[in-house]
């Protein structure tokens, strides 16, 4: 290729970019991006868009955010819920507009969001980061009312504190039952970290009690590491029942805290029911969720496959191999902010690569981790083979202690980046 040819191609690209960018310039002096949801995904995305010079409005009805990561330590009794809570003051003082209301509906054709007080906002691009909702129609007997008796504690806050109080009030010798759903759900290793920490609580505070974990699947994240630790630490306090051993919960009876499986029933003193989940309600209302209840996206841009000019990040989206985690949501948010800024300027985003790391505590001083690297493939994110990995099996205790410390440091760093 001659130099002239190349210059012509580059010139052609630049011209295309100008044409794509033009409608925004003429229609509106400054493009406007709305972000719905102020969690690890949405708050990060709003921040990075703002820093990229984009006019951004964050819609979040709660004045404080309660973090799910580390909330299992609240249930364990060694951490206060206040340590999980973060305000939006830092985002506000940075100059980000935060509307403390619930997004009531989205009109994708008119690019308009209606708030619960009836006011409307228009956008050039919308970013949905609504997290999850429990599906109160999926497990017979489990609805919002029974969640007050058998907490899910799968959205941090009052539910987390409720489960902790129930464990604290339980007599020594009481049976704790935990029900874990099939994939996909928020935080794949989360139920097993929780099971570990509840078993640790029982072992140290209520040694005559026991936890039975009923799982609707046979395989899970960091399984070998968890099961190695359980055999060593909690042989008398944690019993794991996988799908193959009849672990799938088919019904719950809240009045007497009974959990029914295909082959047995368990009447618990404390029951933690983690039900099937779906993308947060606004994603459903916006038409960005498909029949699975989750939001299909183009992994190159996070743009919805169902609605143009809408992007979905975090737990609500179908990310393929990339798990529903705070780390993942934060990483996607930064990339999505950059991509949306590029699209608004008429540029073509480059193919992304994403990383996820996830720590779990098996005991307060015993951490394990998994890391993965992902790229777009088959319309979702796929694992890059040979990248990432998990903590070693049969490692000495100081490795576990260090990973617990890394886990703590990670929480400090990510919450400082998102809310600090």
């Amino acid at each position: 290729m001659s130099l002239t040819d190349r210059r012509q191609i580059l010139g052609g690209l630049a011209a295309t970019a100008t044409v794509l960018g033009a409608p925004y310039v003429s229609a509106q002096a400054q493009p406007h991006v709305i972000v719905i949801g102020g969690g690890f995904g949405g708050a990060t995305c709003a921040r990075f868009l703002h820093r990229a010079g984009i006019k951004v409005t964050l819609i979040e009805e709660n004045a404080t955010y309660t973090s799910c990561p580390f909330s299992n330590l609240v249930i364990h009794g060694s951490r206060e819920i206040s340590a999980q809570q973060f305000s939006y003051d830092a985002l506000k003082s940075e100059g980000i507009t935060i509307v403390a209301q619930r997004a009531q509906s989205v009109d994708g054709d008119a690019r308009r969001v209606t708030l619960n007080d009836g006011t409307t906002l228009t956008y050039d691009r919308l970013i949905l980061s609504p997290g999850i909702d429990m599906r109160f129609d999926a497990l017979p007997g489990y609805d919002a009312a029974s969640a007050e008796l058998m907490p899910h504690a799968w959205k941090a806050g009052a539910q987390t504190v409720l489960l902790r109080r129930q464990l604290e009030a339980m007599e020594d010798g009481g049976l704790v039952v935990m029900s874990v759903p099939a994939n996909p759900y928020r935080c794949p290793p989360g139920p097993y970290e929780r099971a570990s920490l509840i078993a640790h609580y029982l072992k140290t505070k209520k040694p005559k009690s026991k936890l039975i974990v009923l799982d609707a699947k046979d395989q899970f994240s960091k399984q070998k590491l968890f099961q190695e630790a359980w055999a060593n630490l909690y042989p008398d306090h944690l019993e794991y029942v996988p799908l193959a051993a009849g672990g799938k919960t088919t019904e719950v009876i809240a009045s007497d805290k009974t959990v029914v499986t295909e082959f047995s029933r368990y009447t618990a003193a404390v029951a933690n029911i983690i039900p099937p989940q779906q993308a947060g309600k606004i994603a459903q209302l916006a038409g960005a969720a498909d029949r699975t209840g989750w939001c299909p996206i183009d992994p190159m841009t996070f743009e919805s496959k169902l609605r143009p000019n809408m992007h979905v990040i975090g737990d609500a989206a179908i990310m393929g191999a990339m798990p529903k985690s705070a780390f993942a949501a934060n990483a996607q948010a930064k990339l999505c902010a950059q991509t949306v800024a590029q699209l608004l300027r008429g540029e073509t985003p480059a193919e992304p690569k994403l990383v996820n790391t996830c720590y779990s505590l098996v005991a307060p001083d015993y951490g394990i981790s998994v890391a993965g690297v992902y790229r777009p493939g088959n319309g979702v994110f796929v694992d890059i083979e040979g990248a990432g990995g998990t903590s070693p099996l049969t490692a000495p205790q100081d490795v576990r202690t260090r990973e617990a410390a890394y886990s703590n440091a990670w929480f400090g760093i990510i919450t400082a980046e998102v809310f600090g």
């Binding site: 046979d218 051993a245 295909e262 082959f263």
Partner: protein, 106 residues
């Protein structure tokens, strides 16, 4: 074979339709999977399941390699009289595991 999980109601009224559930832990090796060295893992599946009620075969299944591991088989029967319900699983090696449950019909 491992011991199967069985769920049969202990009691039923005559003429009731009752639900039976069984779960047998079994790898259901298809015979199509190679090892890392490229050797084919020999087929090893449960190929036959039979349920008898009071000595009469009331339900049977022929299973093939497409069945997933740990086959879960659920079906319904009409409760006719008190007696023993027998379940048997036969694998490719010719081994048969038999388990029973009793039902009281009023």
């Amino acid at each position: 074979m491992a011991r199967a999980l069985i769920n049969v109601p202990a009691k039923a009224k005559r003429g009731d339709i009752i639900e039976i559930k069984t779960l047998m832990s079994h790898p259901m090796e298809t015979g199509f999977r190679p090892t890392q060295e490229g050797k084919i893992i020999p087929r090893d599946i449960i190929n036959r399941f039979v349920c008898t009620y009071d000595g009469v075969a009331v339900f049977s299944v022929d299973l093939f390699p497409a069945m997933s591991a740990n086959p879960f088989i659920s079906f319904t029967l009409r409760a006719t009289n008190s007696g023993v319900i027998t379940f048997s699983w036969t694998d490719d090696k010719g081994e048969t595991q038999v388990q029973t449950a009793s039902i009281e019909v009023e």
